[in-house]
Symmetry: C2
Subunit: 246 residues, 2 copies
DNA sequence: CGAGGGTTTGAAGTGCATCAAATAGTGTGG
DNA sequence: CCACACTATTTGATGCACTTCAAACCCTCG
């Protein structure tokens, strides 16, 4: 499934690492040290990076593409926990607890990742207090995001969940009007929001009627962001613009 | 709402702190240091410890009783994130991110807490690497638990969620037969599981029929743990006995 | 052009919520 | 120890939201 590793280019990897929250404020030499142990891997669409409960040895930095985090039940259902954009570090949580991955990770389209040994991370945490703080900070961020996630799945209905998803996509200025592209399949968005594709389709139609947004394939034009926010955020504890996501 | 602070007894507080995961492996002197800054507070049932988005100055160790973590929407709905038993530390996550609490906390019955300054925790984290590691460890545990929570709310139906809740209550030996007491109100359990009291009642009745458990008020007798697990855990990614909760 | 996946639409079913009312349980004051 | 007030829990009837199953449509790509 996994394509051959490309010849790593040290400076590129260094640059990627330096941009992560994890490495923020770390001495160059430390980042260099990590980069030296990194391998670049190209993942084809559908490729499973690791599986839930698998013994963990590596963690990853997503350089390109999208990766889905999910869990599968015995019955064969699947719960999508999150879909990560480029720049995200994942799998690092396995360093704690029982040393196994807490979910499965799969490329939802062709992707490029940096593969890094967890042992290197462990050493760095112990030697570089700054890194431990960074990690605490990002873990806290994850925790907040998950709290939001639980709230959303409990209290928002399908059209609101979609609206919320759209609003998070236009998180830039305070513009009245935004045109954006859905980042991936509608089917995948549906899964990300915990609903079936059919429900997504109908809920989006509903949202169109109720908030005046215009949908053309993967292009969404929001004429009145405020109106969408009013419709959406009533069932949520935070109002638009919501706190920045991790 | 809050009852008067009791005269703090240093040794008791020390003992409570020492038992937490947070302080595990910490030098006695450090624990002593924390204990010196702690205050004991009695909370009456219903008392709000802190509110979501409130500027955070304190974190807490629950010595007695139960505390509910929740978020409220503009519409007045509430999502219960968790209900903490005695021994738990809470509010400490506010040390990271924007310095505000990520949820509201409320005593669901009369409770006793240790109140501790977040500044003390911050200093300790910076000076005592072991504490940073403990915190990372417990944060990672929370993250896992929340992942499970998201999965449960997405994939389990009402009777299964209740079954899962019961199974987590009898997590001791591998006994065939268990009799247990519900730790708090059925209404509260319902909220904790993301359902209405009426639904809880009906779902419990359903569970009784389907798995042969016997319910007498707050007493639940599980004749065949295996049978309950079979019924419940099909819609979950982990089978009984599930991983220990944080 | 045709195959195949993504998306939409329709019809019917299921599960949980809601509203309303009955019942059980608990603590209080007499 | 009883009656009352109040809350927790159960039960019934009904509605809405999401799912399921099925089929049509649409779009892209070989």
């Amino acid at each position: 499934m996994t394509a051959a590793a490309l010849k790593p280019r040290r400076t590129e990897m260094h640059a990627l690492l330096a941009r992560t929250h994890l490495c923020h404020g770390l001495p160059e030499s430390r980042i260099e040290e990590l980069a030296a142990q990194a391998a670049v891997k190209t993942l084809l669409k559908g490729c499973v990076v690791y599986s839930h409960e698998e013994e963990a040895s590596w963690f990853y930095l997503l350089a390109q593409g999208w990766v889905k985090l999910f869990r599968e039940t015995l019955d064969g259902d699947e719960a999508v926990l999150d879909i990560l954009p480029a720049g995200h570090v994942f799998g690092e949580t396995a360093l704690f607890g029982n040393g196994r991955y807490g979910a499965s990770a799969q490329a939802v389209e062709d992707a490029v990742v940096l593969v890094l040994p967890l042992t290197a991370l462990r050493r760095l945490i112990e030697e570089e207090p700054r890194l431990a703080l960074n990690m605490l900070d990002s873990m806290a961020g994850f925790r907040r995001q998950q709290e939001r996630e639980i709230e959303h799945r409990s209290l928002q209905n399908a059209p609101q969940r979609i609206g919320c998803f759209l609003l998070r996509l236009c998180d830039d200025g305070g513009r009245q009007t935004v045109t954006l592209h859905l980042p991936y399949d509608k089917t995948l968005i549906a899964a990300r929001l915990g609903m079936k594709p059919e429900t997504f389709s109908r809920a989006l139609a509903r949202l169109r009627e109720d908030t005046g947004i215009v949908v053309q394939g993967a292009t969404v034009h929001i004429g009145d962001v405020r109106r969408l926010a009013d419709y959406t955020c009533g069932a949520c504890s935070s109002t638009y613009p919501c706190e920045d996501k991790e």
